[in-house]
Symmetry: C2
Subunit: 388 residues, 2 copies
């Protein structure tokens, strides 16, 4: 086990009707906020009205910025910080999924930084000293951004999607009401489940030895997602299955499952390029990339991938050679994705080899990626080939 | 799953040599502190000197109060708050195990409360509005008090041991260096492991339905303890086994494993009376009580105890009837305790039936105990009988 510091102060308010307390929670921090959201689904679902009602009840003045798209862009966050500066806003309330939350975090970083915008932090040209507090009403079990230290932003000018990490941008509170996910399109729910699985797998696959407890916690999260995601998708108003998924999505990315171990994160970067080039949702990029990544790397640590197949996918440990066991595990991971209606090959999203070099170059722009094994540009191309 | 609020802001600093940063961590909060510890083991181990060195380096003025015994008493905490008030101390640093930390938390509650001491909070005569911040250097993987909201204090005048819960007393930081546990007496390490198991079992045994993720997280923690506690005890300088135990001890009691479910906690109360009457360490009281409690209650929810036996103790699900499977699980729980050298019957601590009524009466003084099933005085006597 490695030394670590773990600290996650986000206040999680979980369960039915919890969105009704949003005004009270915000009031602890601010009287003047930016309400940030996506393409209007919160208006259709009625959530918007209920938020406004709760804010007004607490006499909280609010300004609005909607329009966050999947793979949120830097430009909108600059617009958002302009509004905040002009109106003297000191709190961002994000209502939506990972894209909205990440966009809110970027605005929170932009506002007090006079030298430019948060892309300077992404590229390492500057280091933030403070950020506005962010609160969250979550509508999509997926990114875990509601209590994570991460924001993934796409710089439209450069067509680059990059993640940024800082304790400054952990939301101060996150309201998780599983009922809010009932009206999500199926495809978004499925994609979210793949994202959750990926967040755990990125942490699970490690070169760190002696990680018994966190191995088992990761396995607990993965099994929960595998059992509950298909149920939540089949019975769209199944509170319990959706709740399991939502809580797993949070724990998958709040830092706990990383304690004492170094995760990989190569597949996320390989997937980001698919999103940027082909506009595939984040989760679908991961359902394509992960099986290919495992095939490419498993022989570096047979024991770990064997454990993954046995403990997470219930492959009989005596099924065959360790490699047979691992391949059976990969097969079951692919089946899980298919059961959710997700793509597991590039062909399914209409992608061929044409952009492999371009994507691999971008993925490795700042050097080799992944910690489990360091992947150079050619490795990334090889993985794309395995995903054809 | 039940609605819940989860918030645990304690900063965990985990790993080798981490005790060296104590001065820096304290400095964030205070220049004038009370260093609180037990019966002198931190002096023998050299930890005391290293703490002083780190505090002096940061120019932190410190006063001292040692002498905390197992099952910490109210009197010493009143003495401690007297020192704090007299010297204008605004931070308590606890160096030790659960007893020292609980005592520190009680002092932290006493100091700003002018109306008396924290026993008023225990009995519900008053509600605290604030407490001093507490920091921890942990030496015993056991209580989880280092980031919990709980303190268990014994009122010597009344011979009553009671727990008190408040978010006000969660430590602001906790330094967990597994190496500090190498010099613990074997018996304390074993007792600590039983305490950790009990903290998880109290949460695991619930009447709440649809708790997939937290079930599995609990199982992860229990399996980790069962595998690593015997190793840590056999190889007393095995860093990895001790580290697994220490991290499990923390997660077992930081609130995470309770999310969305109502735990039982009856066994803890039944065990507290054994500690008060016979002076048995907390963990040993639990290794005696828990198997008896399970025998007494399992037929109320065969499925849950069947799952416990299969998933935690690897009992073959087809071993026999569900009751056979459960009994095999209890047998393996008892074996686990015995492997650690812990008592699993009252006879082993020299206790007979003579105090059953007295203990059962005290355990149920404030009403029936336990949430899984509510235990009246006679139920508690029956459980003591099963533990003979």
């Amino acid at each position: 086990m490695e030394n670590f510091v773990f600290e996650n102060p986000t206040r999680i308010i979980f369960g039915k009707d919890t969105h009704k307390v949003v005004g009270k929670e915000v009031k602890k921090y601010s009287d003047r906020i930016l309400l940030h959201y996506g393409m209007g689904s919160i208006k259709k679902s009625g959530l918007y009205d209920r938020i406004i009602q709760s804010l007004k009840k607490e006499k909280i003045e609010f300004f609005e910025l909607g329009g966050v798209k999947p793979n949120p862009g830097l430009d909108l966050t600059i617009k958002g910080s302009g509004i905040c500066r002009k109106e003297g806003i000191d709190f961002i309330l994000a209502a939506g999924g990972g894209s909205v939350i990440d966009s809110a975090k970027a605005i929170a970083l932009n506002v007090p930084y006079k030298g430019g915008n948060m892309w300077d932090f992404v590229t390492g040209r500057a280091v933030p000293v403070t950020a506005l507090p962010v609160g969250v009403i979550l509508t999509i079990p997926a990114s875990g951004s509601e209590s994570s230290d991460a924001a993934v932003i796409t710089n439209e000018d450069r067509m680059i999607k990059k993640g940024y990490h800082s304790d400054l941008i952990r939301p101060v509170f996150a309201i998780l009401n599983p009922e809010l996910a009932f009206t999500l399109p199926d495809q978004q729910l499925a994609s979210g489940a793949a994202d959750i699985m990926a967040h755990v797998m990125e942490r699970y696959f490690t070169r760190t030895k002696n990680t018994d407890l966190t191995d088992r916690l990761c396995e607990a999260a993965m099994r929960t997602v595998m059992e509950n995601a298909p149920l939540a998708l089949k019975y769209r108003r199944d509170y319990n299955a959706t709740a399991e998924l939502m809580w797993a999505g949070n724990l998958a990315h709040n830092g706990l499952l990383s304690t004492g171990r170094t995760g990989d994160w190569g597949s996320h970067k390989i997937g980001h390029e698919l999103s940027t080039c082909y506009g595939v949702p984040h989760g679908s990029s991961l359902s394509i990339v992960f099986p290919a990544w495992i095939k490419y790397v498993y022989n570096r640590d047979i024991d770990m991938f064997y454990k993954f197949s046995v403990r997470v996918f219930d492959v009989d440990p005596c099924f065959g050679t360790p490699e047979d066991v691992i391949n059976k595990g990969i097969e079951r991971l692919v089946s899980f994705y298919r059961k959710l209606g997700l793509p597991t090959s590039l062909g399914e999203i209409g992608a061929g080899k044409e952009k492999f070099e371009e994507m691999a170059e971008k993925a490795t722009l700042y050097g080799p990626i992944g910690n489990y094994i360091r992947l150079e540009m050619q490795d990334v191309i090889n993985i794309y080939n395995l995903a054809l």
